[in-house]
Symmetry: C2
Subunit: 471 residues, 2 copies
């Protein structure tokens, strides 16, 4: 019995689409009502999570889709996973929900076990964790850790603040509120709050009208595919981008305290960074005393075939901070150097210091991935799926440009010739029973949960071939 069959003996055997358009009439009716109190303009349909199961999401019209988008890459183990239901019904969960603690001041006796369970899923080389609430929050907490560390290296870890710092910070002025920057990359997505938003650089709509920090964006490599046939050109591209990073660190008007990068830029188009590039960034960050942050918010938790995507690059020495959220449900950052713990309490602090209810879910997800060897399964299924896609690519090369993600589990994407064609393909896919997302301007990104198996890949490929034919 496959793992999916173990979890979901009642999982549908195929998608069912009953309505002629999506959202269907019942979705439209209920979305209109919901629209009185909620911004429903981005809604694909109104979901019925009670009826959704495993790899299938159901809407209120009774349409059931094979889900390769999984709540914008945020469902790790399928819908209504029995192991998570068990965690959700545990006494620890009830307490976490009704007696939400201010963890910093009044940590609970449950916390030690909860955190140690989460740390079992830490990336290689990391053994501490700090908790937040979302991907953007995780990245901004990481920025705070980086700024504190960066200034501590300049000032001395145990040195006290000067009177000038204590006074100026209350006016939002230097030296207490120093002019320091986080370097990120063009096409990056690190969240939509103000500091995370200043590092995000994928689409204007995410950022327009918001004040931003004057922080730099370097070039992220743009590779030629397939990778194994273009290694010389891609190495040149890496070196070109690395030179820009180094130049920006040396010349930007504000000192660069930290660098943040996604190992695969997801929202920005599924752009991959090579092992070479990620390692060279480690060398540069060490050379210039810049904190190295890897954003695994979308790439983390198994979908690339490793628990954390940057483990493919085996960066040495390990990076400083690794942020997570989405499929882990809980958010925060991992680190290993105790010097990233601020020299005084109440510097990295807030009322809740994380969300124990979501930490319990994260622990259960990590345990299931480990027990059921789901990263290995994802690698296997990803390879199977990629081969099938290469088959389609041969048949329809124009509609499968830059097919990428080989050897990266089910974390696969390709480009259509235009955004209009991509949008049309996603629409046809839905009508043919598959819920799939796009990224950047004209890319399709596959983000099924880790319970996606070969049989689901077959159903998807059939629907995809049909949909491409209909373009």
């Amino acid at each position: 019995m496959s793992i999916c069959e173990q979890y979901y003996p009642e999982e549908p055997t195929k998608p069912t689409v009953k309505t002629e358009s999506i959202p269907g009439p019942e979705s439209q009716k209920q979305l209109k009502e919901l629209g009185e109190v909620f911004d429903t303009r981005p809604a694909y349909f109104l979901a019925d999570y009670e009826k959704s199961l495993g790899n299938y999401i159901t809407d209120v019209d009774g349409n059931t889709y094979l889900d390769l988008y999984a709540q914008i890459s945020s469902i790790a183990l399928g819908y209504n996973n029995p192991a998570l239901i068990k965690a959700a019904q545990s006494p620890e969960m009830i307490r976490a929900l009704v007696d939400r603690p201010a963890l910093g001041n009044f940590p609970s006796k449950d916390l030690d076990k909860i955190l140690k369970q989460i740390l079992k899923s830490a990336p290689k080389g990391q053994d501490h964790v700090w908790s937040g609430l979302s991907g953007a929050d995780a990245n901004e907490l990481a920025f705070k850790a980086a700024f504190i560390y960066y200034r501590a290296k300049q000032r001395g870890y145990d040195a006290d603040f000067s009177e000038k710092e204590n006074l100026s910070v209350m006016d939002n002025d230097a030296p207490g509120a120093p002019h320091l920057a986080v370097l990120s990359f063009k096409r990056a997505f690190h969240g939509r709050l103000f500091a995370s938003g200043s590092t995000t650089c994928s689409k204007p709509i995410h950022k327009l009208d918001f004040p931003a920090f004057h922080w730099p964006h370097a070039e992220y490599p743009s590779y030629q595919y397939p990778l194994d046939e273009n290694s010389d050109a891609n190495r040149k591209e890496d070196d070109h981008c690395l030179a820009i990073v180094e130049e920006l660190i040396k010349t930007w008007s504000i000192p660069v305290a930290a660098l943040i990068i996604e190992p695969i830029q997801s929202e920005g188009g599924d752009n991959h960074a090579s092992k070479y590039f990620l390692q060279k960034l480690r060398d540069i960050t060490l050379k210039y005393n810049v904190v190295y942050i890897i954003d695994e918010v979308q790439t983390g938790v198994g979908a690339t075939g490793k628990l954390w995507c940057h483990e493919y690059a085996d960066i040495q020495p390990p990076v400083d901070l690794v942020t997570f959220s989405k499929k882990f449900q809980s958010a925060g950052y991992f680190f290993h150097d105790p010097k990233f713990i601020p020299n005084k309490p109440y510097r990295q602090f807030n009322t809740w210091c994380g969300e124990p209810a979501r930490m319990i879910i994260a622990g259960a997800i990590g345990q299931e991935i480990s027990d059921k060897k789901l990263t290995e399964q994802c690698s296997r299924v990803g390879d199977y799926l990629f081969k099938k896609l290469e088959g389609l690519q041969k048949k329809y090369p124009e509609n499968f440009q830059n097919l990428r993600g080989k050897g990266r589990g089910t974390f696969i994407a390709w480009d259509l010739p235009t955004g209009e064609k991509r949008d049309l393909l996603l629409k046809k896919l839905k009508l043919n029973g598959c819920n799939v997302g796009g990224c950047a301007v004209h890319a399709v990104r596959l983000r099924p949960s880790l319970t996606f198996e070969e049989k689901h890949a077959d159903i998807f490929i059939e629907a995809l071939a049909k949909s491409v034919n209909e373009l």
Copy 2:
């Protein structure tokens, strides 16, 4: 039977402190172990939420304290409240926990009911809500709404972005990323992310080493107490501070798009703003086209004797945005003008768009407060408590300076002569069975849950008298 007896027939009748110091030996032992994976330096003790009940919190040494701090003012209905346990065990909650939706793209059929339940608790004059994850997040989402609205008023609500805006924003430059400011007040606390942190101005330790926006802080009124004996002086103080606000709006180097204020500055020392002051701010914000944001993160959800503290000021026309978190468990902002809905989708957006699990809890809390008339009870108990405190003030005037919060439910505070004396009083209170928090440098703040009744006030007053005597 009192409401507390209905909720908690087994609630302890008095505190029990078994250890000679706090944290006790078992707390110390377990905190040391937890310290390997968590910053335990700010911990008061290690809490046992399984054994905590109603107004009493228990630690792992078996000490049971009457809790007047309630997780930094974040527990609305006491520990292990049966109505919240019921909500936590509901099928909607299980779904919210295991199938966490990306609400913007895939809203659930449960969402309409959940949001309408939350809106039953909206402040007078507000009838829309936008959801976030924490107080800091709520404030930053409100800033985003304010910036979008402010620019839309300049540009035209339906006008499109210029090419120059679309290009410059990707470099974090104006005009796409405009130079705009949020005006806040000295001693304010609005959170610790980067934009919210730029409006926070209570203690250097919250902000040191973090880059900040160059945003202004006006003077928040400092009143003389008791208020009814100092109305002339306090009116002058209001006018003095209002003039500073107006001057800053007129002269600050960056245009002020929004103003944010707590009706009672909580973290900053329980500083109250008068009805007159809050209304005049409405007049000024209308005159200068500034968005008016009330931060009810700590003052909201009943503890002042009204559901939302600023309702005492009956501000006309109603303010633009009201943020909430803490005792509501869910976070976000209320508003009433549909123009605060951005002209395009995906501008106020993120993966989760809030946390349905916490929204369900918020709805249950609002329902209980309404059903059990808990704001009225809080007013009554607050008046009772305040009179008792006035009695102690007469006896120990030096240790009860600026007693404040009369007619504001249990949201009461006073000053000790020094921070050392305040800290000592809090320590003695704990040893005498009461968990109480401080704020600013030398204030004591009372923040019991809404289930705090006269009998609890009596126990507290007795412990307080004893503790003050021991100073």
